[in-house]
């Protein structure tokens, strides 16, 4: 279609996803969880957008809505020029071939009753015509080799692989349809550090070779910094700050981003100038009953009356990148 190089690959506008809250006894709907509450962003071709935030902030729900596993309550998702939220099931299925996902849990995300080769070939079973059946075996072995698995292990079952190898298998499956966009939902979070580093390197190589675009979800900021070109910070269903990687880590202007950064453990704290540690108090607010105005105000040390009344928009502040805080300012070290 109108897939020219300059328009974004993925464009999300004012996306909302809600889940009904049911009473335990009668299963009556008693309210709604706003898991994603008005998120907009663009994903450029070939870039990696990192998505960070605490658990429950809506990262997975956002990803699952983009890929069509959850239904959007409102808003639009435009992929490669096609509007998906209003697309027909057939159109959706076609578009889905171009968007694939790598899951967090390398144990539950692979069908335990299929061999590695069958797992990789399943996509071709579903979309006949992509790869002729006679080529499945060879193509599957190529893919396994591509992600660093021994092709002779194609007949093994998932439980015969280690966690890191399973994650590679999940990556191979996601690549089988030659997608344009790959969503990595905590794809390395469950792995040990040494294995995590191996998988991060693999993802970087694949991006360079295949021109992939990544939406990379993680809660580990060091990992996100390592892989991302741009970073979006989510809090309670909203994006509160969005900027180039350098900007987010050097010049965060939203208090939540600043707190998040200051909480990241540093391997050798003694080798650095002492950092100002911002210790947040309190908990993430319940998404069923978010605070009025700025959702962060219940934990924000800078909150004032205005924060409870007016919801801050995600817009450029201080002449810098977009940040959703009325009182956005650079961290003390920069002032």
């Amino acid at each position: 279609m109108s897939a020219n190089g300059s328009e974004p690959l993925l464009s999300v506008r004012d996306l909302h996803t809600t889940f009904p809250l049911r009473s335990a006894l009668l299963r009556r709907v008693t309210g709604h969880v706003q898991a994603v509450a008005g998120v907009s962003f663009d994903l450029r071709r070939g870039e990696t957008l990192g998505l960070v935030g605490e658990s429950g902030s809506g990262k997975s729900t956002l990803a699952r809505t983009v890929i069509g596993l959850e239904r959007a309550a409102s808003g639009t998702v435009t992929f490669d020029g096609r509007e998906l939220t209003s697309a027909s099931p057939a159109e959706l299925r076609a578009a889905r071939r171009d968007v694939q996902m790598i899951f967090q849990d390398p144990y539950s995300s692979l069908n335990p009753r299929r061999t590695a080769g069958q797992i990789v070939a399943e996509a071709w079973e579903i979309h006949p015509g992509v790869v002729p059946r006679s080529r499945w075996r060879d193509e599957a072995r190529d893919l396994l080799a591509r992600v660093g698995l021994d092709p002779s292990h194609a007949d093994r079952y998932p439980h015969q692989f280690s966690g890191g190898q399973r994650q590679r298998l999940g990556i191979a499956r996601a690549l089988a349809l030659r997608p344009k966009l790959v969503i990595c939902d905590e794809a390395v979070s469950a792995l040990d550090v040494s294995i995590q580093a191996q998988v991060l390197n693999l993802l970087a190589d694949l991006q360079a070779d295949l021109g992939l675009t990544y939406l990379f979800i993680a809660h580990d900021l060091s990992v996100v910094r390592h892989v991302s070109d741009r970073v979006a910070v989510m809090y309670a269903g909203r994006v509160v700050e969005l900027a180039e990687q350098e900007e987010i880590f050097r010049r965060p202007t939203h208090p939540y981003t600043q707190a998040l950064l200051s909480a990241v453990p540093v391997p050798r704290p003694w080798s650095q100038p002492p950092r100002e540690r911002i210790l947040l108090t309190g908990d993430v607010p319940s998404p069923a009953d978010p605070p009025s105005g700025c959702r962060f105000r219940t934990r924000c040390w800078k909150a004032r009356d205005e924060c409870a009344e007016v919801e801050p928009a995600l817009e450029p502040r201080l002449g810098l990148h977009p940040s959703a805080c009325h009182f956005a300012e650079l961290p003390a070290a920069h002032r």
Partner: protein, 336 residues
């Protein structure tokens, strides 16, 4: 250093019976925990950190797991030789443990105040009223806001971080002299993790207790630990003061772990992970069990099993189980 350590573990071996044979999940591990200090036990999944802690606490899964050798001496008393009943009481009173998953270690059907108070009722014979008051006090102590109001809530009404605070409150109830925390923050978000680590550090200082912090995350403990013990495939491979170990790692595995961690500052270089994967404990490689992954491995490594020993030119306390520790410290480039 004349003072005897609070906990002294020598040559501890733990094995599990499995279908494929006996697995030595912990193999000849020795370490000391001094009074009031914090020891970080580090290593990747399956390296034997939790099993070591379970052995000290006497909570190895039975009958699969058993202590196959070694001694565990707490405050001059050999826990493996003494009367089991007295040891059990000691473990309740003086040695306490906090687990990774705070939801599954709290009983969902009892109010948290009751569960904390239970410690006082059972071990100290306190009245219900006194136990409840003590529970509120403890909940305040671990930073639960409006403790008096929340003492009658159930575990599921608390967030993950709050539940971990409650677990810590229970562990602290009897003012233990040794607290073992097994991945106390792994299930928590970074912001909450920072709160809990701060809480543990503060409590340790104020109570003067010794702390064993088990984690796979080298960054989390750097701030609070005094010494580190690194484990690999059931062995202790390096130990020493935490700054010494982090800055002058003498074991290639420790180096590899450090190099695998992406940095928050500094240039974004390609990571240099440890290659390969941890070994199958049922079929450990010959000699040094790290040799298939080690960039420094030589023929000697494939034949001889290195013992934990002092590293020439480093403080005596810094020990590593590597034939080539000196070269590793010297930062010799990897021979690939």
């Amino acid at each position: 250093m004349t003072e005897s350590p609070l906990l002294s573990v020598r040559d501890l071996s733990v094995r599990f019976r499995t279908g494929g044979g006996h697995v030595r999940a912990v193999d000849g591990v020795s370490f000391d925990v001094r009074r009031g200090e914090t020891l970080a036990v580090l290593g990747e999944s399956g390296s034997g950190k939790s099993v070591t802690a379970q052995a000290v606490m006497g909570i190895l899964p039975k009958p699969a797991g058993e202590i196959a050798g070694g001694t565990i001496v707490y405050d001059g008393r050999d826990l493996l030789a003494e009367d089991p009943n007295r040891v059990r009481r000691l473990r309740g009173d003086e040695i306490a443990m906090v687990f990774q998953d705070p939801l599954s270690s709290l009983n969902p059907v009892f109010r948290v105040g009751w569960q904390i108070g239970e410690m006082f009722r059972r071990h100290r014979g306190a009245s219900r009223r006194a136990a409840r008051a003590a529970a509120v006090e403890l909940m305040e102590r671990v930073g639960i806001p409006a403790a008096a109001r929340r003492v009658d809530d159930f575990p599921h009404q608390f967030s993950g971080g709050m539940r971990q605070r409650i677990m810590i409150a229970m562990a602290l109830a009897l003012r233990p002299r040794l607290l073992i925390a097994d991945e106390p923050t792994t299930a928590l978000d970074v912001t909450v993790q920072a709160q809990i680590m701060r809480l543990l550090a503060d409590l340790r200082r104020e109570e003067g207790m010794a702390l064993v912090l088990i984690t796979h995350d080298l960054g989390v403990v750097a701030d609070v630990a005094d010494r580190a013990l690194l484990m690999y495939a059931g062995r202790a491979v390096e130990t020493g003061g935490i700054r010494e170990v982090y800055d002058h790692a003498a074991h290639p595995y420790t180096r590899g772990l450090m190099a695998s961690i992406p940095d928050l500052d500094g240039p974004r270089e390609r990571l240099t992970p440890v290659r390969g994967a941890p070994p199958n404990l049922l079929a450990l490689p010959s000699g040094c069990s790290f040799h298939p992954r080690c960039p420094h491995a030589t023929d000697r490594c494939r034949a001889d099993d290195p013992v934990l020993r002092a590293v020439d030119g480093r403080p005596a306390e810094h020990r590593a189980a590597c034939h080539h520790a000196e070269e590793v410290v010297a930062g010799e480039r990897e021979r690939v």
